[in-house]
Symmetry: C2
Subunit: 145 residues, 2 copies
Amino acid sequence: MSTDVLDATFAALADPTRRAILARLAAGEATVTELAAPFEMSQPAVSKHLKVLERAGLVSRGRDAQRRPCRLEARPLKAATDWLENYRDYWEESYQRLDALLTELKDRDARLPDPHADETAPAAGSRNPKPDGTPRTDGPGSRGA
Amino acid sequence: MSTDVLDATFAALADPTRRAILARLAAGEATVTELAAPFEMSQPAVSKHLKVLERAGLVSRGRDAQRRPCRLEARPLKAATDWLENYRDYWEESYQRLDALLTELKDRDARLPDPHADETAPAAGSRNPKPDGTPRTDGPGSRGA
DNA sequence: TCTTCAGATAACCCCTTAGTTAAATAACCG
DNA sequence: CGGTTATTTAACTAAGGGGTTATCTGAAGA
């Protein structure tokens, strides 16, 4: 879970073109020209994006004659999700006010000296034990054959 | 869920310093100098990072005399997580081989013409209905008072 | 072999980013 | 008012990102 992985992954995801490429690859392998088609940019530009995705480990490529089919490698996305998961408690709306309250009280009580918490451990709260059963809002369509 | 939000959020998360800042803020509000202390860079540099985080909506700031305490605003992280959630099926190891198989079969069967899938909808699979009960590996410490 | 198709590289542009130091604000403290 | 503390802004450098066009490589196929 070295920071480099997260660096590269998040950086790769920061571009809409690259996210679109990943979305396309989620539907199955595709060649560079196939991937480039939907976009208004040149093919070399897409090649560059692919290189970024490849460096981040999000895409791997095979070989079929002169074609270099790309396929999705989603594993780094797990690292990213894992990192984000530490903050799940913080975006649950219902706790936002409680959180503000706690911070204020703590602030008033004593000025806490805690200059840094490790990057990988945001000291996630004991508030939400985690596995909430919330069903995904996005409707997963049928995939594969 | 405009792409701009994801752009800014993922871009903000692509820097280890900024991720560390967020981790620190998860433990409670902090002033700029408090946030800057752990790092070897100058304080203005940290201010810049904070501005990036602020622009992404990940940090908001109050005012306490000459201090401008920063607090975590985790909502954009939900958008990021939601996007990543669409790919959850793809990183479940057990399916990697099955996926490869399916793609190959489909490829052999007929060359599918599906140039682009929308960015927000990677056509997530019907394979994994989703709410897996996997407990988080990171140990959430106690938080708040 | 000559051609064509599929991608990769190169060389270049422009703009952003991450960092620096130094100076400007802004609010408190005496 | 004058000084100290906290933070922002300015000006600058070095590096990298995203895009372009033009050129090179490499495999297929006539």
